[in-house]
């Protein structure tokens, strides 16, 4: 019957060992993780791709990689504690072992459609996690891109992510960084309102701009409507969609969006390709 053996043939479901180099709480619900593959190899991802993270005995779940491949030696995740795996990861500490499969999926087109263009980043909540990978990539190849505009919205000031880093982003040349919170507290002096309230405050050249969008399901509809009003063609907007990408390799069926597999055809999609796809924005 079933026999265990170390695999000669590649097993697409078998994670490779990795070690947590750093675990740092960021908000009440979110922590930052730095990981290294035990093989010593780079993850080899592109911005927008995801990995499947295993905690033996707990399970496996997909998470977008939050660092750019230009920053070598390790890779970053930032996880909200919502499922079994993300909760278990929050209980781990530096030095603990996890399993990694991937990277999987289509990245943002940083080396083709985005090159030479102005870039508008729009992210809500932990939607900033995969977008940070793209932002870092763009800043690390700053001369390959035009003007950069970054919009980031969260529920409250306490939910803001990568606070130190976003301060650096503000200081980058030819870059605008704006943030908003749905509910302010006493200390908050900035914009209050959903992320679309930031959009009238920016000036972009709609036919020179590529939009990179990631956020909760509810955000897309309104942001895309606003972009349409601003004259950004749907062919120039890219979204990263959340689904249950259980296997990551196009088999298990859970992440299907009509005929598309989020794990293989996505999670990054060009908006114009999604217009006929009914299940895309739900």
């Amino acid at each position: 019957m079933a026999q265990t053996r170390s695999s000669q043939e590649k097993d697409i479901y078998r994670p490779e060992p990795a070690t947590l180099a750093k675990v740092q709480p960021v908000t009440e619900m979110e922590s930052f993780f730095e990981l290294r593959l035990d093989s010593g190899k780079e993850l080899g991802h592109m911005p927008g791709q995801f990995v499947e993270v295993s905690v033996a005995g707990i399970g496996e779940a997909p998470f977008g990689v939050s660092s750019s491949p230009t920053r070598q030696g390790s890779f970053h995740l930032l996880l909200r504690r919502v499922g079994n795996v993300s909760s278990a990861l929050h209980r781990l500490k530096a030095g603990d072992k996890v399993g990694i499969r991937g990277p999987f999926g289509k990245p943002f087109p940083v080396d083709d459609a985005m090159k030479g263009q102005d870039i508008l980043f729009i992210s809500g909540g932990i939607g900033l996690v995969p977008v940070r990978s793209v932002i870092q990539y763009v800043f690390d190849h700053r001369r390959d891109y035009g003007a950069v505009t970054i919009l980031f919205g969260t529920k409250s000031p306490a939910d803001r992510l990568f606070v130190d880093e976003t301060d650096e982003w503000k200081r980058q040349p030819d870059t605008v960084y704006l943030e908003s919170v749905d509910r302010a507290d006493a200390s908050w002096k900035g914009n209050v309102g959903v992320i679309t309230t930031l959009m009238p405050k920016i000036t972009i050249d709609p036919v020179r701009t590529v939009a990179v969008i990631c956020g909760p399901p509810i955000m897309y509809k309104f942001v895309l409507m606003e972009l349409n009003k601003m004259g950004v063609p749907s062919e120039r907007s890219y979204v990263s969609l959340e689904r249950h990408m259980k296997c990551g390799v196009g088999k298990c069926g859970h992440c299907q969006i009509n005929g598309l597999y989020a794990c293989q055809d996505g999670p990054v999609f060009r908006y114009s390709d999604l217009i006929p796809v009914r299940e895309a924005f739900r």
């Binding site: 170390s6 695999s7 697409i12 033996a56 005995g57 996890v98 259980k246 088999k251 005929g259 299940e279």
Partner: protein, 341 residues
């Protein structure tokens, strides 16, 4: 490779020999229905069956299987089932389904768990002798098959034509190699069986060529049939579970009592089940029954053809029988799409 004829007695002796030689699964009676099960004696084999409750996919992708094992944080080890086995009595529509699953699991990223079992399988197909209540393989081009099996058995009168097509088939033929070569009369009678099966395995009549389904579905997203039929859907996944071309799965970790070691287990899952598209945090991306119901028919008739080049329905009719509320008849659904809304 030879085509021979054997009488029932010889066939029995041959099957007894196979049983003595290794793992054999054959079609047998279960209550008032049939199933593939470990074959302990040739007399239990029921090649006259109509359809099995569950297709033979269960031997390539079991309802539950260990993908990996783990011990503490030491890492994961692959589990592979490498024992050879013989399946006896696989109907042509199921042979066609296995070929589709092979395409799914060997395409893009090779699934070594499925493929290891598949490589260990010797498939002895058998032409249909009794039509089940809901079979429509005749409409799907799967009433007969020309490839995808190692040996094909066809009953003609009081004997069988045994047609070995592969090396694996030759290996298990054994003494049957010496059986008399099939004569022109037997071969002609086999042709007649095939012609009859193509003609009569049509308990439901699909009023279109299957190849036209993707185009038809393209324009049918808003057809009222999805809402209408799904009102009576239990979201019980029976249609998924019994389908020879449904292969969606769930994966979870089971730990032993010591909480250190255990297995990563793969289970059958189904797109009709309520939480199939639910993500951590609770958002369900396909929460309406009608959307799940439509998804299944789109997957069979449009999404899978785009992926593997075949309509993912082989006309076995199992879903029609398994559905308690009788809403799962693909022929009825697809025919409805032809009607004016």
């Amino acid at each position: 490779m030879g085509v021979v004829t054997v009488d029932l007695k010889m066939l029995n002796v041959w099957v007894e020999g196979l049983i003595r030689g290794g793992r054999v699964f054959g079609v047998q009676a279960k209550n008032n229905r049939f199933q593939f099960a470990p074959l302990l004696m040739a007399a239990n084999l029921r090649l006259d069956y109509d359809v099995t409750v569950i297709p033979p996919k269960k031997y390539m992708q079991p309802a539950r299987e260990d993908l990996l094992t783990f011990e503490g944080a030491a890492g994961f080890e692959t589990c592979l089932d490498q024992e050879p086995f013989i399946l006896i009595g696989v109907h042509p529509y199921d042979v066609a389904a296995i070929a589709q699953m092979d395409a799914v699991f060997s395409g893009d990223n090779v699934d070594v768990h499925y493929m290891t079992r598949r490589k260990q399988a010797t498939v002895v197909a058998c032409d249909v002798q009794a039509a089940s209540a809901n079979v429509f393989a005749g409409c799907m081009g799967t009433a007969t098959v020309d490839k995808g099996f190692d040996i094909l058995l066809t009953r003609v009168g009081d004997h069988y034509v045994v047609d070995s097509r592969t090396h694996k088939g030759e290996v298990i033929l054994g003494n049957l190699v010496k059986a008399p070569k099939a004569d022109a009369v037997s071969l002609a009678r086999r042709e007649q069986v095939w012609e009859d099966n193509r003609k009569y395995l049509r308990k439901h009549e699909l009023r279109m060529a299957p190849e036209t389904l993707p185009t038809l579905l393209e324009a049918s997203c808003d057809h009222p049939v999805w809402e209408e039929k799904s009102q009576r859907c239990f979201s019980c996944g029976s249609c998924n579970m019994v389908c020879p071309t449904c292969y969606c799965f769930d994966v979870r970790d089971d730990v032993r009592w010591d909480l250190k070691g255990g297995a990563r287990v793969r289970d059958w899952d189904g797109c009709m089940l309520r939480d199939f598209a639910t993500v951590a945090g609770g958002h369900n991306f396909r929460k309406n029954r009608a959307d799940r119901y439509r998804h299944r028919y789109y997957r069979k008739g449009k999404y899978m053809p785009a992926k593997i080049g075949h309509i993912s329905c082989v006309g076995c009719g199992r879903c029609i029988s398994a559905c308690v509320t009788k809403i799962a008849n693909p022929v009825e659904v697809y025919n409805r799409l032809l009607e004016v809304r």
